[in-house]
């Protein structure tokens, strides 16, 4: 099993290096020269050359790539071109905001969707099953900004229960943070819940069709006990994978929700940086997103290996 885990780890790191090279290359190819962008109207050839030398853009790309990667490993992403602050300082608070919102949404969405999915499997084809399927599917079918605006319209503007802009303020207490970010959290929960719920239901039901479950049924065990004790452990692997995918989405894919609620997360930072050609910030954001995505998938792999006795104790 250790060999299997080791393989996964090495693969993960290789992917990460590949992705980092890709990020670097793509930002190199972005249309619009950084130097001319910084200079604007003042972009005389001499000024452009001077800026390029100052930023080290006159050196070959592979040299700069290696240097950048070495810095990134140490947590040094360079300096923002736009406001001359260290990239780590620019990104730090934004990353925290993003992780906070993702964790908030995940802590509610994951248990809820697994629970709803198991219930749906137990009461298969009941009114409850149909209802929960239809409502979660309806939620996932709407674009996230639309869900966001609907929630704002009713919960913020009409009833004024929650704030419409989820701006983080340092002077807020933790509870105020939770309150301020309630609507974006709810939006994200509605977006991710269907996927996980339905995967839980399906994989539990697949296992339920196997002979040993029939045996348990004939033994006279209750339906709930069969599902939770006998079916669920064997159904975990695909559920874990789907959860990992959704967690990754909660961190890397929420830029639209951030825009709707004026939430200052990493996604909006990256969009700002792309439009201003602030390449070091773009690269750092890209790399963080890649680490999150690959890391979560790696964890999901490890967990599904651990949850599978055949992989845990290979002969």
């Amino acid at each position: 099993m250790l060999k299997l885990l080791g393989q996964r780890l090495v693969l993960g790191i290789l992917t990460l290096i590949l992705v980092s090279a890709l990020i670097f290359a793509v930002t190199e190819w972005l249309p619009g020269d950084i130097a001319t962008n910084i200079l604007g109207q003042q972009a005389t050839p001499e000024n452009v050359a001077a800026i390029r030398a100052e930023l080290g853009l006159d050196r070959p790309p592979y040299e700069r790539y290696v240097e950048w990667l070495r810095g990134a490993v140490d947590g040094d992403f360079g300096t923002s071109l736009a406001n001359k602050r260290p990239v780590a300082d620019v990104i730090g608070p934004r990353l925290w905001n993003t992780l906070f919102l993702a964790a908030y949404a995940a802590l509610i969405a994951v248990p809820l969707s697994v629970f709803l999915g198991i219930l749906a499997a137990i009461y298969r084809n009941s009114i409850y099953d149909r209802l929960v399927n239809i409502s979660t599917l309806a939620a996932i079918s709407m674009p996230e900004f639309f869900i966001g605006y609907i929630l704002i319209l009713f919960l913020a503007v009409q009833f004024r229960w929650f704030p419409a802009i989820a701006t983080f303020k340092p002077e807020q207490t933790f509870t105020q943070h939770l309150y301020a970010t309630f609507l974006p959290m709810l939006t994200l929960v509605l977006v991710v819940i269907a996927h996980m719920m339905r995967m839980t239901r399906t994989s539990v039901l697949t296992v339920m069709a196997s002979p040993y479950i029939e045996m348990a049924l004939l033994k006279g065990l209750s339906k709930a006990r069969i599902v939770v004790r006998h079916a669920l452990p064997n159904a975990m692997a695909p559920i874990i994978n789907v959860i990992a995918l959704n967690l990754a989405y909660l961190i890397v894919g929420v830029v639209v929700v951030e825009a709707v609620f004026t939430y200052n997360g990493l996604g909006r930072l990256m969009v700002d940086a792309v439009s201003k050609r602030d390449v070091p910030v773009v690269q750092a954001c890209g790399l963080i997103f890649a680490v999150v995505f690959i890391g979560l998938n790696l964890i999901a792999d490890v967990l599904s290996i651990l949850s599978n006795p055949r992989l845990r104790h290979p002969r």
């Binding site: 249309p31 619009g32 001319t36 962008n37 910084i38 200079l39 604007g40 109207q41 003042q42 000024n47 923002s80 736009a82 406001n83 001359k84 620019v90 608070p93 934004r94 605006y149 704002i152 319209l153 913020a156 503007v157 004024r160 704030p163 419409a164 802009i165 701006t167 303020k169 825009a259 709707v260 609620f261 004026t262 200052n264 909006r268 930072l269 700002d272 940086a273 439009s275 201003k276 602030d278 910030v281």
Partner: protein, 527 residues
């Protein structure tokens, strides 16, 4: 009929003065707050109240914002800086120059040298007293090889010389009677001599920057004792960056901000229905433009330019995009709000017959007109282009709309495509607008309008301080552009702000929205 009703009617009709009204209202036992409410409705300015906290939901902010005044390009940073710093001159709501840190500006007879007196008794937030050296340093920040956004307009300044501790002389390369307007540029703010630490601003403004997170928010607190009377009344203000149009409007409706701007026209009804908000609409110089390059085929033929100008249904466009919050353009860039607006030119109407006539005269082919369009130019540019395509087709003119990617639009399409969608922000002086985009030598001459007679008129207009002559020249330039120019200017868009009724002092301004970006300086909150 009681006396109070009669008194109210009298003041509304202007039969009773403000002072007299307050005296008689007090004699009748009417509460002062009620009496001043009546005065406000009657159009009398109320006395600003000190104190209070103003929350502004503001667009045009980015995480890449820097506090260096030379890098400013958008509203958020400009509004922050006008609270911390003062300029040399201020443009008032009627587009006239008012003194600020320059108390007086006197041109020589030929307008090539200006002697300016620096206001005395002004102190910076670090305690230093303002003098001529600070002003010279601040002007020079934008001169020469500066990367300042004001470097272009400031280029004609040949030299700034100290005459006295509180007097400077500005020498120009060429005469310019509108120099004060050049100095009103929002980048040109006064800092102490040798100041370089932009992240810790030192200015003469009424507020200090308590907290600043680029692209997120800024908190300003009153530092007390501001020199302008009736300004900087708030105890504190918070500017929250909300770039998303819908989110900004929702924040207002949900009561989370007191003031916001760039109101989305389709939401106006909803805002008015809520009942506790007031819109602030200002006619201004911001306009859409479809520049045709006068030296590129087929637009080098004046008949083609006229044909396309007649093909635009401006009335429908205004109605479709902005309702009553925009005005038709007349193919020259000087807005109604400008004192030099030529109001005798006939309004260009949609006329398919004339358009067809000119197109046929020029022998315009079906594949000749290609319009490069993108919503990067302004929201609705694609809609406008498609409408234009339809109204031109009615005149038998075939327009191909080429959609350009928004990313890199300004680098790759503007000043390169011969016919495109674009916009211009207004300029405080008519001569500036004409110089920045229509002078032969202007780098941003996006219509390639290179006409000697026009350049001559512009130079003459800048050189004379005789108002009647200036008017003749500027009116003639507008006529030339209207009749022959390459600028198809379909509409001027009004600034549209909105505030909670408790916010006072937030009034229309012909330059920029939010009181010409001085909302924190001018607004106050009714107790």
């Amino acid at each position: 009929m009681n006396q109070w009703d009669e008194l109210q009617r009298a003041v509304t009709n202007g039969r009773v003065s403000r002072r007299e009204f307050m005296r008689r209202a007090a004699a009748l036992g009417v509460a002062t707050s009620i009496a001043s409410g009546v005065l406000a409705k009657a159009g009398f300015a109320q006395t600003p109240v000190k104190g209070g906290h103003l929350r502004v939901g503001i667009a045009g902010g980015s995480t890449t914002d820097s506090l260096d005044i030379r890098t400013y390009t958008d509203t958020t940073m400009i509004n922050i800086s006008t609270s911390i710093y003062d300029g040399l001159v201020e443009v008032d709501a009627k587009n006239q120059i008012q003194p600020e840190l320059f108390e007086t500006l006197e041109p020589s007879d030929d307008a090539t040298e200006w002697v300016c007196n620096v206001r005395k008794g002004i102190t910076f937030s670090n305690g230093k007293t303002l003098d001529a050296d600070d002003v010279i340093y601040s002007i020079n920040l934008h001169r020469g090889d500066s990367t300042s956004g004001a470097a272009g307009p400031m280029r004609p300044i040949k030299d700034v010389v100290k005459m006295d501790t509180h007097q400077v002389k500005i020498a120009l390369e060429a005469p310019d009677a509108d120099l004060p307007y050049v100095l009103s540029d929002y980048h040109v703010l006064v800092v102490p001599k040798d100041f370089t630490d932009w992240s810790n601003p030192i200015g003469t403004g009424g507020y200090k920057l308590e907290n600043f997170e680029p692209g997120v928010r800024a908190i300003l607190t009153n530092r007390g004792g501001y020199w302008k009377e009736g300004r900087c009344n708030l105890e504190s203000a918070e500017l929250s960056v909300i770039n998303d149009d819908a989110a900004r409007m929702q924040a207002l409706l949900a009561g989370e901000v007191d003031v916001t701007h760039r109101v989305v026209v389709p939401l106006v009804d909803q805002i008015e229905a809520a009942g506790n908000f007031e819109l602030v609409q200002a006619a201004a110089g911001y306009h859409f433009i479809m520049p045709m390059m006068c030296d590129k085929a087929p637009y080098d033929n004046p008949d083609v330019r006229l044909a396309l100008k007649y093909s635009m249904n401006r009335e429908k466009l205004v109605q479709m995009l902005f309702g009553k919050f925009a005005r038709r353009g007349n193919d020259h860039p000087i807005p109604e709000s400008d004192p030099y607006h030529n109001n005798e030119l006939p309004q260009r109407e949609y006329d398919p017959e004339k358009a067809a006539f000119h197109a046929n005269k020029a022998g315009l082919g079906p594949k000749d007109v290609i319009l490069s369009a993108s919503d990067a130019a302004f929201n609705g540019a694609i809609d406008m282009s498609v409408l234009f395509q339809a109204t031109a087709a009615a005149a038998g003119i075939n327009v191909t709309v080429r959609r350009e990617p928004a990313d890199g639009f300004w680098e790759n399409v503007w000043l390169k495509a011969p016919f495109m969608t674009s916009y211009w922000g207004g300029r405080p002086a008519a001569t500036q607008m004409l110089a920045v985009a229509y002078q032969s030598s202007a780098p941003w001459n996006d219509t390639h309008w290179k006409v000697e007679a026009f350049d001559k008129l512009l130079a003459d207009a800048k050189a004379t301080t005789d108002q009647a002559k200036r008017k003749t020249y500027i009116w003639e330039m507008q006529r030339m552009l209207h009749e022959q120019g390459g600028a198809l200017i379909p509409l001027f868009k009004d600034w549209l702000d909105v505030h909670d009724v408790k916010v006072k002092g937030h009034t229309p301004h012909g330059m920029f929205d939010l009181c010409n970006s001085r909302i924190v300086q001018k607004a106050w909150i009714e107790a």
